[in-house]
Amino acid sequence: MGQTQTAQETRSAQAWEPKVVAFLCNWCSYAGADLAGVSRIQYPPNVRIVRVPCSGRINPAFLLRALQNGADAVLVSGCHPGDCHYIRGNLVARRKFALLKELLQYAGIEPERVQFTWVSASEGGRFAAIIAKVVEQVRELGPNRKLVKTP
């Protein structure tokens, strides 16, 4: 019995691929991801992109909801401070993000599960590198079992 379980676990571990939901702002990070694509920069295909108007649009509920529905990690990316299309959307968001990350970490959710960064429209290479890093970290952590809603 014990052996069967181990075999099953090994099989599912092999089949498991990290699922990362990335919320990218329309003006910088989404264009950065686009640039990575048109420049044919290779990055792991484990990321699902959701385009949002601004990183200031991010409601913490989006991120919690993604984790609840089976994402192994979430990533939020916006314009660099000072470059926001809406002048200060990302600056106001930055405070929210700092507190949210602390809160989730305190509750026991690993910091790698919820990540934040800035990627500009010209940083295709940076976007690819960040995705590669996030996917690698999540692969090491294993599937998300916290907060996931099981029907």
């Binding site: 106001v92 930055r94 700092a98 507190l99 509750a107 026991g108 690993e110 960064t117 907060l147």
Partner: protein
Amino acid sequence: MMTSHPIEMRLRETAEALLRDRKVNLFLGYEKAPLPFRTAPLFITAAEEVERLVWNPFCTLNLAVYLPRLFAISAGARKAKAPPPLPTVGMVVKGCDARSVAVLIQEHQAPREKLVLVGVACQGMVDRRKAERALDAHEALGAGEDMQGNVHVVAEDGTEIILPREEIITDACLECRSPTPSIHDMLLGAPVEAKDTGAARRRTSEFESKPFDGRWAHFQEALSKCIRCNACRAACPMCYCKDCLLDQTRPRWVGAGADISDVTFYHLTRAFHLAGRCTGCGACARACPMGIDTRLLMRKLSLEVEALYGYRPGEMIDATPPLSAFSMDDSQAFLTEP
């Protein structure tokens, strides 16, 4: 410790004068409740009723929770050419109530000029669960206060028991950093200094010393008791949203049941919405019928807000709330770099 009796007398006199001189339309306070260790909220509009007002170690409720509703303007009234005038409300405030009122004023939920705040420096209010535990096998029939401010209990078999007040005040009182009201129009009794300003920090560090999985396990175990009655939200003076995210059905952010994932979502979201706003009054924890330490997350967030943005809700009425503002050099050490 001192007995609350002289304050009760002065409170009645003050309320009577305010109502008699029409300085307030309504006075909010506490009245005797039928069960020991409790008081009930009291709303009086006539000077003759002030005898019902009490002040004792059981005035735990945070009366600020009623203010947004008292000052709410209905959609119909807003459209009317001459909207009905807002009431002037007098209320008795402890340190925590005053902090909550201050945040409500900042958030435009209560106009300062329509409030008459009768402040009382607070010596800590009794947690009825702690008191009941301290009585062991005995059951209290009645509870009062002795001359030293300690709690005097008459048990079911006639035994009289004295419970030292320090041992049975609420956790929020033990962590309170401003027992003397931060805003008030008059102050009854002498100001009180905070006893232990590091209590919240110690509790938080203790929890933080556990590994991630240990913290998650503790958190989940605590929340597994939650029945989603929403009492914590109802008791919270800061939870006044008319259309709460947690009640919305389009989209439905969170399931209505007691599924552990939904319960976790509820508590994380509620905590986050109180970041930089929670005044640590402990109303949520006292309202919880399951005895969950609902302040576990708020405690951490409050400390974090203070460390990052130097802000303590309710104590800095002229400062901009930290989540409504930003600075170009806010910390961004949490960001992922390639």
